[in-house]
Amino acid sequence: MSDDYKPVLRAGSDPLVFFKYPGADGDGDVARGHIMATVMSHALKDGEVVVMGANSLLPLAAARLAQLTHAPNLTLIAGASGGVNTLVEPLAPSSGDYANLLAEAVLDFPEVLMLQMGGGTDVFFAGGLQIDKRGNCNLAYTGRSPGSVDLRGPGSAGLPWAHRSGRTILYVTTHTTPTFVETVDFVSLPGHKAGGKWREKGGPELVVTPLCVMDFDEGGLLRLVSLHPGVELEEVVENTGFDLVLPSGAVPSTLFPSAEELRYLRELDPDALLVAVV
């Protein structure tokens, strides 16, 4: 990328695209997007190869934050753009954005999928219309059958191959009962099987929402790990459409981003997309 690249700037552009989110400049408030990105960052290990699909503001920020803090040898593949180790300067709203080519290498998209499906990656980030208690994830449609669709989503995209792409971290930007359902209407991304986790490696491992962090218990059921600062257990329970496994004892509070982490996130994200996204 040469130095003369300028993104479009036009009157009326949305904050999620180009402009500062009003009031997001100050150091005062920590947005839930910051907390989610930090949680996701902590879940990444040094040396891992991390890949993400569409709508990847949060994992993109998380992976870059991990590189800047505890995981300097982590590799990040920025979804549709094919950018490898994009510097995230700045964070851009679309996974296919040219901004992601301020990077070390650029893969053709078939190569990105090839690495994912061939086991060449360690961590995959995904979201969906619905997530159920076993971590099955639906990006196709809700409703009883293909002939009786309530809500048509975009389609299963690369989700069927998530478990081949390594540990899967699920994330959503709304935590509601339509999203967290007992059983998904359509399995785009396979979760854990009844009676136990269905594979040693790969498959859903963590779920990060605007309210809380969840993982899976030994039986492969979704379990609350921590509540984000200011969130009450009640709020999570009410907005989850099934009986969430609760930790024994008091529910911990999600670790607040450190001052350094916040500084990095704000540097990476001058347009405060992380504030607007959740």
């Binding site: 679309s94 048509r152 069927p160 359509f186």
Partner: protein
């Protein structure tokens, strides 16, 4: 004696679509991904000329082009890996068609299988066997004609396979090309190199033409060799409202205008009329896009 000279492939967009895209083609695959590098001017021209396509492959990340083609009934069948507007929302016409029913046949698929099918088509393989895992999703159940089981001759285990795909027509955007169709991507190539090497008839839309000497000087930069292009059409801001990598970003205001309009059938019709059917050419289209300072977004690539 050199009694003939090498022919230019540069055509006006109307002429290229009229001459090279049959009125009814078996299948279509549109290049770019999400809101990037989508050859929208070509798509609008195909719709304007009433071109029809049996099957549209909506993968790996189809957006506005597919939604318009569905809304105008230009396609009979959509094989769907992903069709949406990423962070801007779901595809309104696709939603309505799927939720309320339509004449169009939607085949539920996934992007990985569709890319493997395209690759198999390019290699002349009859089908592509899939890695294990698809059997744990609902895809083979709802699309049993698309995903079929076979016996692995090496392990005698069972695998799924998808039939090879070879799009009859591919529309592809390169930032630059020479007159012989040597196309240059100034940013991501997405799936477009594979698509351009695989498809039957490739029409290439570009922001600008460069001299063949420039191409020969940096042959490692050429994203698509000229012989794959049936025609090269030069269109200013031809990807609008999607981006053209390095030249201009996507126009989120216009995309949201579309999403808002197309949320009703009537709104979609009036969007279609205003921005697709009525414009006599790209300049006319550009005039109709409101509040856009085209001069200010002219990204020039070196």
């Amino acid at each position: 004696m050199q009694d003939t000279v090498r022919k230019s492939k540069v055509l006006a967009i109307e002429a290229a679509v009229a001459a090279l895209v049959p009125d009814l083609s078996e299948s279509l695959w549109v290049g770019g991904m999400h809101m990037h590098n989508v050859p929208m001017a070509l798509v609008r021209e195909c719709i304007r000329q009433g071109k029809r396509f049996g099957t549209l492959y909506a993968a790996p990340s189809a957006s506005l082009a597919a939604d318009l083609l569905i809304g105008t009934g230009a396609v009979d069948r959509v094989v769907c890996g992903y069709l949406g507007f990423e962070h801007l929302g779901l595809a309104p016409v696709f939603r309505r068609a799927a939720e309320e029913g339509s004449q169009i046949d939607f085949i539920e698929a996934d992007s990985g299988s569709l890319i493997l099918a395209l690759q198999a088509g390019a290699w002349g393989q009859p089908f592509a066997v899939l890695p294990s895992g698809i059997e744990q999703t609902d895809l083979p159940k709802v699309s049993p004609m698309f995903y079929r089981q076979l016996e692995d001759p090496f392990t005698t285990g069972r695998s799924y396979a998808v039939e090879a795909v070879r799009p009859t027509v591919a529309l592809i955007h390169c930032q630059q090309a020479d007159e012989f169709g040597n196309g240059i991507f100034k940013g991501s190539r997405f799936v477009d190199r594979l698509l351009g090497l695989a498809a039957g008839t490739v029409i290439m839309q570009v922001e600008g033409l460069v001299d063949n000497n420039q191409v020969v000087k940096y042959p490692l930069q050429t994203g698509l060799p000229g012989f794959r292009a049936a025609a090269v059409v030069q269109v200013n801001f031809g990807c609008h409202p999607t981006s053209s990598h390095r030249y201009y970003n996507f126009d989120d205001v216009h995309l949201r205008l579309y999403l808002q309009a197309a949320s009703t059938e009537a709104g979609f019709k009036s969007y279609l009329d205003e921005y697709v059917m009525q414009p006599v050419d790209q300049e006319d289209y550009m005039r109709r896009v409101q509040n856009q300072d085209w001069g200010a977004i002219t990204g020039e690539a070196p």
